[in-house]
């Protein structure tokens, strides 16, 4: 029984951690290209979950189609937001941009409340409810789908950055904006693209999280906050770091929640990401995989 419990905690941790990783990746992409923290990341996630849910429940759209439409919508949302709120701030101090994303978060949250109310909306069962057994451990199929989905997405993103021209342009811009400009790379396009990708991966994270939890409400946006320790832990400008940080925080949360919470009466699960964050930053100030600039000796 003990072993099964541990395995379940580990699997929970991996699944939740992988979703953290996905959302954190969106966060890192924006940070790398424009050195701005996007504090509306959690709201992006919520928008995705609500739109998908709305399509499935109200318009009886099959889940896969709803998923695709949500992606398109999120991509559009990312571009529109970049155009209307971020681009006018181009060249202003980073702190203004961060404040703008904070405002954006409030606006998005309020809009969602107006359209969908504040009650939890149950997520339809898109995965068969009976679990599969891996050895003695029962695992929900939703979890497996979620893990696979994140793995595929992260691989695809990595390939995108490594092998496509747009990916190269984004990495070049992250490395040096003015030099990228001098190559004829349109930095505006790169910004738009990074917001577009960030909104899409967050939306996927939102849908997966909604499906796993079985319901969608405003608390989903807290993920945006949770992602902050994840990215700082991994190193603000490293996608691999975001993935690693996500998995670590997910596992840590679930293990501590499972073993320590019963002993102290709860609360450890919520605090432990931040404790880990502080400890790791003491040893490695730039995060686990964050870049310390290359210095030639």
């Amino acid at each position: 029984m003990d072993f099964t419990f541990l395995m379940q905690l580990l699997i929970n941790g991996l699944v939740v951690g992988s979703i953290y990783a996905l959302v954190a990746t969106g966060f890192v992409i924006i940070f790398k290209s424009s050195s701005a923290l996007n504090l509306a990341q959690g709201e992006f996630l919520m928008v995705g979950a609500y739109i998908c849910l709305y399509l499935v429940l109200q318009h009886k759209v099959p889940f896969i189609a709803a998923f695709v439409i949500t992606m398109l919508f999120s991509a559009l949302l990312g571009i529109v937001i970049e155009r209307t709120t971020l681009r006018p701030l181009l060249g202003s101090p980073v702190i203004s941009v961060i404040m703008a994303t904070l405002g954006l978060a409030s606006v998005l949250r309020a809009l969602l409340q107006i359209f969908f109310g504040v009650d939890t909306i149950p997520f339809p069962e898109i995965f068969p409810p009976e679990p599969v057994h891996i050895g003695p451990v029962p695992v929900s199929i939703g979890y497996l789908y979620s893990l696979c989905c994140v793995a595929v997405l992260l691989t695809a993103l990595t390939a995108f950055f490594k092998y496509t021209k747009s990916g190269l342009a984004m990495r070049a811009t992250a490395s040096s904006r003015q030099t990228a400009l001098s190559m004829g790379i349109s930095v505006k396009k790169v910004f738009a693209m990074s917001w577009c990708i960030a909104a899409m991966v967050s939306a996927i994270g939102g849908i997966l999280l909604g499906a796993i939890r079985g319901g969608v409400d405003m608390s989903l946006a807290n993920m945006g906050l949770k992602v902050l320790p994840v990215v700082i832990l991994g190193g603000m400008d490293s996608i691999a770091g975001a993935v690693l940080g996500g998995l670590i925080i997910g596992l840590l949360e679930n293990l501590c929640g499972g073993y320590l919470d019963p002993l102290v009466g709860g609360g450890v699960k919520e605090v432990v990401p931040y404790i880990a964050l502080v400890l790791i930053l003491m040893v490695r100030p730039s995060g686990l995989l964050g870049s310390r600039r290359i210095e030639r000796m």
Binding site: A169, S175, R177, Q178, T179, A180, G184, S186, I294, R296
Partner: protein, 266 residues
């Protein structure tokens, strides 16, 4: 080919950095733009390449014509697409990217895959040291190699006009010689016109067909290298090349010191 006419540039809406200089680069020519630190040389070529906008600079009057088209104040990416590539000062390679990825970024505006491939091979032939390091992070290259990469990256865009900002900056004299002979070869072998900004006047004049001296944001003089070299005044005041060489200069300074501090005589 390129014609800059009475261009005026301000930074941050207040500081007039360029006070209406004009210059011309002929087809397939090498033109040197000389002058002291802060004379406005870099600003002038940023005004041509459109990079001014990224530094809160603005062209308030004057025109930039490229092959007859008015490109004044055009966005940087459109300028590159028209065939002008600006290799910016301080060999700023993308440190985290490999050598080959840096070159690929230089060819970002290219559409022809075959030409892209053959240019890549050309650049590796031209700069064999880059070929050896094509998979390495550019941040680990030596200063000279980074400068070669910055120039090679520019060639990947197949420009008709290459704007080079201080290619000699911070390099050892032998490397400077090597870089400049490569610049000369680019000009003759690829028929690329070059506008060269330099503080090292002697070496710039050795490869240029024509030169301008910029002082306080205005053209102080221009002419063929041999004309500029011939005038002693020009050499002393604008080009920093002393008439009688280093040793004489040092001796003269010692004399001055002695008369200023007679106590040393004892």
């Amino acid at each position: 080919m390129l014609k800059v006419e009475n261009i005026q540039v301000v930074y941050g809406d207040s500081m007039l950095v360029l006070k209406g200089p004009s210059l011309e680069v002929p087809e397939e020519g090498i033109v040197a733009l000389l002058g002291a630190n802060g004379a406005g040389k870099s600003t002038l070529i940023k005004a041509i390449s459109g990079l001014l906008a990224s530094e809160q600079g603005k062209i308030i009057s004057g025109t930039v014509l490229f092959r007859g088209d008015n490109i004044t104040g055009m966005a940087a990416d459109d300028v590159v697409r028209r065939g002008i590539f600006h290799v910016i000062e301080g060999r700023r390679v993308f440190q985290e990217l490999t050598v080959e990825e840096n070159l690929a970024a230089g060819g970002y505006t290219r559409k022809d895959r075959a030409g892209f491939r053959s240019d890549l091979e050309f650049i590796y032939d031209f700069f064999p040291r880059l070929a050896e390091r094509r998979r390495q992070s550019a941040g680990y290259l030596s200063g000279g190699e980074q400068q070669m990469l910055a120039i090679g990256r520019g060639l990947m865009a197949r420009p008709q006009l290459l704007l080079l900002d201080e290619p000699s900056l911070g390099l050892a004299p032998l490397l400077v010689q090597e870089i400049f002979s490569l610049i000369r070869r680019i000009n003759t072998e690829r028929k690329t016109a070059i506008l060269l900004v330099e503080q090292n006047a002697a070496i710039a004049l050795s490869i240029a067909d024509h030169a301008y001296v910029l002082e306080n944001g205005a053209i102080a003089m221009s002419g063929k290298p041999e004309e500029l070299n011939a005038s002693g005044e020009v050499r002393e005041f604008y080009l920093g090349i002393s008439e009688h060489g280093e040793r004489r200069g040092y001796k003269a300074m010692k004399e001055e010191m002695r008369s200023a501090f007679p106590a040393h005589r004892a």
